[in-house]
């Protein structure tokens, strides 16, 4: 008795697997897609080689003055020459270690918060959030044995980070409170929160900054002047808090009523219900929205150029008007774009990681 032996499977046609198959399925599946692909390749071919030629192949990398930029491409000498200023602004040379130390302290101090094995992480995190701002302020501004560095000397990437971090750290708690207040059953609180949110969402940030720097000094008596940076920080924080509030409210509305009732049935009061049951779920849901707001905030910090603060962007703009380096604005702005992109992309990647890690409750 002979048994039937199946013939071995034929390999799939070469046109449907491997690189070719992928190309066929994704890029050339029909006439329209083929046309789009060809167009895209043509555009890339049109744009990318000249950019690489300009930015890398023909670029000038070493030297000290504009005379060293002899090749046709980008003059990165300009960036090198000014890099210190782009990073620290006018912060005194001998004191710049303090800025480095502030950043280092922020990073090292934050590490234990992300070590999941550490016991009582929450207590440490709260302590860090309470202590670090004072430490950073002391290091950057001085006093108590350190030379005082006026905020007018702060600048560059350091100032951008100060505005962004203070804005984020201040807007987050304020925004959550506003979101809760807007959903409160107490009319007075609700009205106050709604008014606040709608007011700050209704005006452009540039107007707020402008008012704070041009109008506010006129209203105040002559002997009182509020630090320019402080004005900007308050403006940015209040402005972003209104946006965060609306993002968080979106999360709160997504939580089923049953969750509130269940928490109430367990005998939890308002703050414990919010803190232990509702907010952890709501915030997790709106991570993309919150990060979106923060990325927008980070980029919005460049608006302080209109009130004469020398953040990263304004420092670069400032360098382009030095007669010794006139005409290298393109290099400056490309550099600015690269730095902003690195930070924003970093934030976006971190938020994706956070989402994956916290993606528990609604995973099916």
């Amino acid at each position: 008795m002979s048994t039937h032996v199946f013939k071995p499977d034929l390999p799939p046609p070469t046109l449907s697997v491997g690189v070719l198959g992928w190309l066929r399925a994704n890029l050339f599946s029909n006439g329209f897609n083929t046309a789009l692909t060809v167009l895209a390749v043509y555009l890339i071919w049109l744009m990318v080689p000249p950019v690489i030629q300009w930015a890398v192949l023909d670029a000038n990398w070493s030297g000290t003055t504009r005379e060293d930029c002899t090749a046709d491409g980008a003059c990165w000498v300009f960036i090198q020459n000014r890099l210190q200023q782009f990073m620290y602004g006018f912060y005194p040379l001998s004191q710049r270690w303090r800025v480095d130390l502030t950043v280092l302290a922020a990073v090292l101090g934050a590490v234990p918060i992300f070590v999941r094995a550490m016991p009582r992480r929450w207590i440490y995190a709260i302590g860090y959030l309470l202590v670090y701002p004072w430490l950073a302020f002391w290091l950057l501004h001085g006093g108590l044995g350190l030379q005082i560095v006026e905020t007018s000397q702060w600048g560059g990437l350091m100032l951008t980070l100060v505005i962004a971090v203070v804005g984020i750290a201040g807007a987050m708690p304020l925004g959550i409170l506003l979101a809760l207040g807007r959903r409160s059953h107490m009319p007075a609180i609700r009205v106050i929160c709604v008014t606040f949110i709608e007011f700050w969402r209704g005006v452009p940030l540039i107007t707020v900054l402008f008012m704070s720097s041009v109008m506010l000094p006129l209203f105040l008596p002559e002997q009182i002047s509020i630090d320019k940076l402080l004005r900007a920080l308050i403006a940015v924080t209040l402005f972003e808090a209104a946006y965060i509030a609306e993002v968080v409210r979106g999360g709160l509305q997504a939580i089923p009523k049953g969750q509130y009732e269940a928490a109430g049935a367990l005998g939890l009061g308002y703050w414990r219900m919010m803190g232990l049951v509702i907010l952890p779920q709501a915030l997790k849901l709106v991570i993309p929205g919150i990060v979106n707001t923060f990325i927008a905030l980070f980029k919005d910090t460049s608006l302080v150029i209109i009130i004469g603060l020398f953040d990263l962007f304004n420092s670069i703009h400032q360098a382009t008007v030095d007669p010794a380096w006139l005409g290298f604005a393109t290099e400056g702005y490309v550099f600015a774009a690269a730095v902003y992109w690195i930070f924003c992309f970093g934030m976006s990647r971190y938020s994706m990681r956070l989402e994956r890690r916290l993606h528990t409750g609604h995973k099916r």
């Binding site: 302020f137 402008f210 109008m215 009182i224 509020i226 630090d227 008007v321």
Partner: protein
Amino acid sequence: MKLLKTTLASAIAVAAFGLSTQASAGTTLDTVTKKGFVQCGVSDGLPGFSYTDARGAYLGIDVDVCRAVAAAVFGDASKVRFTPLTAKERFTALQSGEVDILSRNTTWTSSRDAGMGLSFAGVTYYDGQGFLVNKKLGVKSAKELDGAAVCIQAGTTTELNLSDYFRANGMKYTPITYDKSDESAKALEAGRCDVLTSDQSQLYAQRIKLAVPDDYVVLPEVISKEPLGPVVRRGDDEWFAIVRWALFAQVNAEELGVTSANVEDLAKTSKNPDVRRLLGAEGEYGKDLRVPKDWAVKIIKQVGNYGEMFERNVGQGSELKIARGLNALWSKGGLQYAPPVR
């Protein structure tokens, strides 16, 4: 209203950080002497007028005006702090007392002088709108620009001056307006327009941005008057006089041949009574201004005379290479003239 203001003020005073108290009583000079430095409002970046070098030091002709005042008051030109101001906030900053002097390429006009509670202390730079053209066009005068495409750097009065000038001369033109100076320079280079118009001092800066600056030339015509100078708050004549005479001292010094190199020798050895009076060897002219006797020596030594200041920042000693033109001394065909010290 007053109560509201006081309440607001005290409420804000509670927040300790960031508040600095400026002495409300007394004159600007007393305030400045007490705090130990001159607070000077400058531009947020204008080639040759105020900009920062790689070390973060402020440079430029507007910057030097403030340094000269500091030299007169303190005998030390470095006792000055700079506040970069945008065009829109500059007057508020001066009016609210945030700065003591506004030295920010500000044009002296009747509305600003009479209508805003400000006083212009003098003219550091006689500017005016001009034209930058490619040499290939073979144009020698703005009168030959009939039918030209003109790149305009958007400004409040640039367009108006241009249309007035062309209408007055019966010529036609096509305006192409740009927001940023970098864009208009690129447009001129690419041949989008035949001529670029802006304030003359800026045209020289624009020219550096071009690939081959020597192919372009600034035409001799100036079609508007833009006298730029330092501004102070009105009503403080003492401070006004110091700022005004700090500038006059520099102009006088150039006229008398006093430079930063020879000023200290001349103060001791000069026989010329004008020089002796200027440098404090004779008379008590510093006392009238409430500044030290050797105030002019300190200015010239540390900042230079007007000519030195001009050449270093915008003239032959700088990248801009602007000719003296209207800013030459009156004795050399320009407009810079200072009353004598006596």
